[in-house]
């Protein structure tokens, strides 16, 4: 087990015209369970392939602890990887499939048997060990592929590339908790690629959000939800995603269409420059009612979606649509004027999609002053 350190690692498939993965410096810490979350085509598979050595990066260097492995081929890196779709040795039995990585590495026979049986038991493959792997249904085939990734003991990391895409949803939950269990037992570094936020948030110690080839934020699931560092994280995590409203900073005050919303607070030491900015606030932290509280702004209700457990109230603020998540028993009639109040410290300011500050109550309102 080792920390996996990427130093300025980037990859381009077209000779440098576009980056599939922008040069990044990043460390995957030993024994942690990571979820790598991002939309289709953002470079998740590329990143995994670089770590496992299936792809050599266009630029940058890779270290396992202090050993540089940039030029080391896959076989020398000792990484397990499971692919998006089942990859099997089709004419072999399930047992032989699971034993294959161990036999290639000359494990003693008894140990092979013991490991194969343990993994097959964990993944519920016991009844299928003798069957030819290609006779299994795709979901089971993928579980066999997963098993091949988990059967080895001395791996630097286990990379899982959307391993449960083809698996039956009911089985997904079971398998995911099995994976967590295995992770706890073995202490492998685990990188789990997904574009499903629930999967990422429930699984990982740390979620790494990748967008357009760059890591936009990494943190614990709650952190990503409560405090998005990038507009993309706000959109991608949470359902529905974060509201984004264009605004303006003038004299330290955030304004939307001539209305003062709140005080602009910079994330850094220095003051925020006056000029255009975007407000981001999650529907969960946008509260209707509470006339005149700060920060907040007047809105017009345009419609309500009843979701059962909660309601989604659609409003317009100065011509921009927003959504507020309210209790199921609240009633808001369309075409009425309401006041949308932002929960304290949960409304943020973004410039060029990157967070630069937050909004606090206006002076003299809500009893709380802002600098």
């Amino acid at each position: 087990m080792a920390d996996i350190r990427l130093e300025g690692v980037g990859h381009s498939y077209d000779g440098g015209r576009t980056w599939a993965l922008r040069p990044m410096t990043w460390t995957w810490q030993s024994s942690r369970a990571y979820a790598l979350l991002g939309p289709s085509g953002c470079g998740k598979t590329t990143l995994l392939n670089i770590i496992s050595g299936l792809l050599s990066p266009t630029v940058g260097r890779i270290f396992f602890d202090d050993r540089e492995v940039t030029a080391v081929p896959t076989a020398g890196r000792n990484i397990a990887q499971v692919f998006q779709f089942p990859v099997l040795y089709e004419e072999m039995s399930v047992y032989d499939n699971l034993a294959f990585p161990l036999r290639n590495r000359k494990y003693p026979k008894a140990e092979i048997d013991q490991r194969v049986r343990r993994v097959s038991q964990l993944l519920g493959l016991d009844d299928h060990l003798k069957r030819r792997s290609r006779r299994l249904d795709p979901g089971r085939q993928q579980i066999v592929s997963l098993g091949r990734g988990l059967v080895r003991s001395e791996v630097a990391a286990v990379l899982l590339d959307e391993p449960l895409t083809v698996v039956d949803p009911a089985l997904k939950w079971t398998l995911r908790s099995k994976l967590k269990e295995i992770h706890r037992d073995t202490g492998h570094t685990l990188i789990y690629v997904t574009h499903d936020q629930t999967e990422a948030l429930t699984f990982a110690d740390e979620v790494v959000v990748l967008n357009e080839g760059a890591i936009v934020q990494a943190g614990e699931p709650t952190e990503l939800f409560l405090s998005p560092a990038h507009e993309f994280v706000g959109h991608f995590i949470g359902s529905p995603g974060m509201n984004v409203v264009p605004a303006e900073i003038a004299g330290g005050v955030v304004r939307v269409a001539e209305t003062d919303v709140g005080q602009a607070v910079s994330d850094q030491e220095d003051e925020l420059e006056p000029g255009p900015v975007r407000i981001g606030v999650r529907p969960e932290f946008a509260r209707l009612g509470g006339e005149g509280a700060s920060p907040g702004l007047p809105v017009r209700v345009t419609g309500v979606d009843r979701m059962g457990a909660y309601n989604l109230v659609h409003v317009r603020a100065g011509g921009h649509p927003m959504i507020a998540k309210t209790e199921a028993d609240t009633r808001f009639a369309p075409d009425t004027e309401e006041f949308l109040h932002f929960a304290p410290d949960r409304a943020f300011l973004f410039r060029d999609s990157v967070r630069c500050g937050s909004i606090s109550p206006l002076d003299g309102l809500d009893g709380k002053g802002a600098s």
Partner: protein, 319 residues
């Protein structure tokens, strides 16, 4: 309306029109079945039936016709039953040629299939060299059979052929395919390998290209050796194309005619007299249509049976 329906009812297309028309005018028609039945399918099968009749059945029937008669002249012929078949099957010369041809086909398959697969594995998977490799490999396939024969006839000659001369004078091995049976056999075999291994290679290459990248990546992750990757990923996925390659190469080599005819003319002695060469001698040279017909049918039968066996064994083993 009814009249029209009745007139077309007999034709395959008419079936549908009748069922459609009957309820409209209300006249019960005994030929109209309750269940709508569409006979149009027969019409679609017809072109195949006609073309198969002309390409295979009718020519074959004329051969069958010859094979059961003794023909002295167009007006003077007698029915002899299976007599010709018996004599052909007992003929020692034909039997020897049969064994010889079978041996030749076996050698062709044993050499060309592994060589072709090896060539395909060695060919680049992507990049600019793919097309270069394809053209070079495909080149022998574009040469007409008799030209191939002529090329090798000259190339292997001990006196003026580059290959034959080199073997004799540089390697110091006594080689003369016009005098020595083994040399003649080897020449014909190598010629066939040169000519047809590319076909196996191209088929295998197409099969290999259809294997998705993740399979090779998984093999790398699992620490598989190159041989192991071939054995467990590439070979299983070549089963389909190799079945085709084996069938094609068997049928073709078992019926080989032009090239040995041009190079050795079946000699020296009978060393390279394959079944087809013997057959043409009987049919065209001696104009014995009866024995030639029986010979052809038996020949045809053997090719069918062996091909069927190959096909069944290869597809069964894949399940």
């Amino acid at each position: 309306m009814t009249e029209q329906s009745v007139t077309v009812a007999g034709s395959p297309v008419g079936g549908e029109i009748v069922t459609g028309a009957a309820p409209q005018d209300g006249t019960p028609d005994s030929r109209v079945s309750v269940k709508p039945k569409n006979n149009r399918a027969w019409l679609l099968v017809l072109p195949v039936v006609v073309s198969v009749a002309f390409t295979a059945v009718i020519p074959l029937m004329t051969v069958v016709n010859f094979s059961v008669q003794d023909i002295f002249s167009p007006d003077d012929r007698i029915f002899v039953g299976l007599e010709w078949f018996r004599s052909v099957a007992r003929d020692p010369e034909i039997r020897a040629a049969f064994v010889r041809t079978l041996l030749f086909s076996a050698q062709v398959l044993l050499l060309e299939i592994p060589l072709g697969v090896a060539l395909a594995v060695a060919m680049p998977r992507r990049g600019v060299w793919v097309s270069v490799a394809l053209v070079i490999v495909a080149l022998p396939l574009l040469i007409p059979w008799n030209v191939v024969g002529t090329i090798w006839q000259i190339f292997a000659r001990a006196d003026i052929g580059l290959g034959g001369w080199t073997i004799n004078n540089v390697l110091g091995i006594d080689f003369n395919y016009t005098l020595d049976s083994t040399d003649a056999w080897i020449t014909v075999l190598i010629m066939d390998i040169w000519h047809w291994t590319p076909l196996v290679a191209l088929l295998a290459y197409a099969g290999l290209r259809s294997i998705p990248d993740p399979y090779f990546q998984a093999a790398q992750i699992d620490g598989a050796s190159a041989w192991s990757t071939f054995r467990h990923i590439q070979l299983p996925r070549l089963r389909g194309v190799l079945t085709i390659a084996i069938l094609l190469r068997f049928m073709d080599s078992f019926m080989i005619y032009t090239e040995p005819f041009v190079v050795t003319g079946g000699g020296p002695g009978n060393a390279t007299s394959f079944l087809s060469i013997l057959l043409s001698k009987v049919a065209v040279g001696q104009f014995d249509l009866g024995p030639a017909g029986a010979f052809s049918l038996l020949y045809f039968l053997v090719v069918q049976i062996v091909s069927y066996v190959f096909f069944t064994v290869l597809t069964r083993s894949g399940r």
